[in-house]
């Protein structure tokens, strides 16, 4: 880096000493993350809770039928504990989410265990669409999915209120057109 950008080397070298580690995932210069409403946390809690309940109940009933009431209780408890942990993680996940529409790129940051910062230039967006499954519709939220020519990155903005999602899609689609540089 030293030859390519000498000024940033000294400035960033000094700041990296004082920066805490999460600063690497901070919003771009002079901007703050747009946060996602809590409906996303409830969405994930409902999905994971229903999953845990189903697995716990099925396993518990099976173990009861085989005549292991103690194991059935333990299984149910484990399922409940998992649901509790996931309940907590869903809140963390929702608070970890943020996006910024910068001048030429869309920034996204999310993840509790694996922290990610994804940058998508507007000119690279091929398709922008809005999807909402049944539960998302019930909660009034939607997912904006951005497709680029690369298939490795999962570029989505999840849990936006439907009206915001539609507006974001329209803005992104318009910018992807005006910044377009081909493939």
């Amino acid at each position: 880096m030293e030859t390519s950008e000498p000024p940033s080397e000294t400035e960033a070298g000094a700041s990296s000493a004082v920066r805490p580690r999460n600063e690497a995932f901070s919003a771009p210069e002079g901007r703050t993350w747009q946060r996602i409403p809590t409906a996303l946390a409830w969405y994930r809690r409902l999905v994971t809770g229903a999953g845990c309940l189903a697995v716990g109940a099925a396993g518990g009933v099976l173990l009861l039928m085989w005549g292991h009431p103690l194991w059935a209780g333990a299984w149910l408890l484990a399922a409940l504990a998992t649901a509790g942990v996931l309940w907590f993680l869903a809140g963390l996940f929702q608070r970890s989410w943020g996006y910024v529409e910068a001048s030429a790129e869309l920034y996204m940051s999310y993840g509790v265990l694996v922290r990610q910062l994804v940058v998508v230039p507007y000119g690279r967006m091929q398709v922008v669409d809005v999807t909402a499954d049944l539960l998302e519709q019930a909660l009034g939220i939607a997912t904006v999915r951005v497709r680029t020519a690369a298939s490795t990155a999962d570029t989505r903005v999840v849990g936006l209120p439907l009206a915001d999602a539609v507006q974001l899609r329209d803005r992104l689609a318009e910018r992807s057109e005006s910044f377009s540089t081909g493939l």
Binding site: M1, E2, T3, S4, E5, S8, A12, S15, S16, R19, R21, E23, A24, F25, P28, S103, A104, E105, G111, L113, V114, R115, Q116, L117, V118, V119, V120, P121, G123, R124, T148, A149, A150, S151, T152, A153, T155, F179, S180, T181, G182, L183
Partner: protein, 469 residues
């Protein structure tokens, strides 16, 4: 070294009037009809014949005759109606007999053009023309069993249209870049650790089989032989007589003995490149160059991704500089992520370069204007250690460039630098469609003049001729 067969060299510069390909409809070689009938009949006789023989030989003859007529009744009209032709700068392909289909392809969007001649087609002087588009596996246009001259002229016309010139313009002149000597190919393919080890193992197993007459040994020998067939014999046959040349229409590759191929990758179609140097090749100073081209999706990726199968290291870097004009891949300052580490990464105004691999060294090069998305990610352990990884995503292909396991703040600086350089490099005028009429790419002025002079109805493009510099 085999001399290239006639017809694979540059065709005559000025096609005669009856060779005009820009108008009219074309179809595959008529030979395809009897060949198809023959194939269907043979398959039928081989599969159903043994059952019918029980009823008597006359039955076999009778039913086979019926199949011949049936196949002919299908093959003839489907050959006749399977036409294609150029309409302005679109390629129109009709096909299908019961379910008629018609595809219109804007040629300015093509990603690569290949002419392929398997052995059987070489015998009948036929070729297949493949036009790769960016839409993935299903979007390639394959025109099978064309007469070879037609395929050649079609390729020239298609490339001319893609370059933004009229379809009658002559083929761009080319200059030789690299011819792979056969001994080097043979030696380099042999001189690799996995190949050498499997050779020795195979010989030991065969010796054990001969000495002890133990047939169980063959159980291990068969997978080894298959592996050698795939990774040693396969590339050896594929890349015999490899010849690469450069032209204003991009990179041209000709290779193959049993299956002759000619690939044309137009300028700006290579999304990313990687240079692979296996352990023993570093001693020889040779490398392999693979590229990500958006058209080569799915199964054809492994087929067509190699730009240079074996080449001296400096040739490999020269090719990278040719493919990404205006940049110097070897000059990008690389920073290792920690001391005594094999993986390093660097970025300058034009390129992102990453090196990894202690034994097999892989250098991955992505031009900053071709990055799709950028990702900075850190798993739980990496975060405890204060480390992060920067991924540079490109369309699906062999290249996956990343600056792995950097110090978190440094990773972020990498990301910011890439974003900044990418923003500067991605100017809308830098697109690569119709490259011959743009001043940003190295065009061939003589060819453009020849083309516009020949066809005055086409608008002349004098204003873009002079670069600003």
């Amino acid at each position: 070294m085999l001399p290239p067969p006639p017809g694979w060299g540059p065709p005559p510069p000025q096609p005669s009037p009856e060779d005009d390909i820009a108008t009219g409809v074309f179809r595959a070689h008529w030979m395809i009809v009897p060949l198809r009938v023959l194939a269907v009949t043979l398959v039928f006789v081989a599969l159903v014949g043994p059952i019918l023989v029980m009823f008597g030989f006359l039955w076999v003859l009778f039913v086979a005759l019926a199949v011949v007529f049936g196949a002919f009744a299908y093959a003839l009209p489907s050959w006749w109606f399977g036409t294609f032709g150029l309409r302005r700068d679109h390629l129109v392909v009709h096909g299908g007999l019961f379910l008629r289909s018609s595809r219109e392809i804007p040629l300015s969007r093509l990603q690569a053009v290949d002419v392929v001649q398997p052995l059987l087609m070489q015998v009948f002087k036929m070729a297949e023309l493949r036009i790769e588009l960016a839409g993935g596996d299903g979007s390639a246009i394959r025109l099978r069993c064309l007469p070879r001259r037609l395929a050649e002229r079609m390729r020239v016309a298609v490339l001319a249209h893609a370059a933004g010139l009229p379809g009658r313009s002559p083929e761009a002149s080319e200059w030789p870049f690299y011819r792979l000597p056969f001994p080097l190919l043979l030696g380099a393919l042999t001189f690799r650790v996995p190949v050498l080890v499997s050779f020795i193992l195979l010989l030991m197993l065969l010796t054990a089989f001969v000495v002890f007459l133990e047939p169980g040994v063959l159980g291990a020998a068969v997978p080894l032989a298959l592996g050698l067939l795939r990774y040693y014999w396969g590339p050896l046959v594929r890349y015999t007589d490899f010849y690469a040349s450069l032209s204003s229409d991009g990179l041209r590759l000709r290779y193959g003995m049993f299956q002759r191929r000619m690939q044309t990758v137009p300028p700006g179609r290579v999304q990313a490149v990687r240079i692979v140097e296996p352990l023993l090749w570093r001693g020889l100073g040779v490398a392999r160059v693979e590229a990500t081209v958006a058209g080569y999706a799915g199964a054809r990726q492994g087929d067509s991704a190699d730009l240079l199968p074996v080449a001296p290291r400096n040739k490999a870097f020269t090719l990278v500089n040719e493919v990404f004009p205006g940049s110097e891949a070897a000059m990008v300052p690389l920073v290792t992520n920690r001391e005594w580490s094999a993986s390093a990464a660097g970025v300058d105004e034009r390129l992102f370069v990453s090196v990894r691999g202690l034994f097999c060294r892989v250098t991955e090069i992505v031009p900053v204007e071709r990055m799709q998305t950028l990702r900075l990610s850190a798993g739980p352990i990496a975060r405890l250690r204060g480390r992060a990884t920067v991924d540079v995503d490109t369309p699906p292909g062999p290249v996956s460039a990343r600056a792995a396991d950097r110090e978190a703040g440094e990773g972020r600086r990498f990301l910011d630098a890439l974003v900044e350089y990418g923003r500067r490099a991605r100017v809308p005028s830098a697109g690569t469609e119709r490259w011959a009429t743009r001043a940003t790419l190295h065009a061939d002025p003589a060819r453009r003049e020849a083309a516009t002079g020949e066809n005055t109805a086409q608008e002349a493009t004098p204003s873009v001729d002079t670069p600003e510099e």
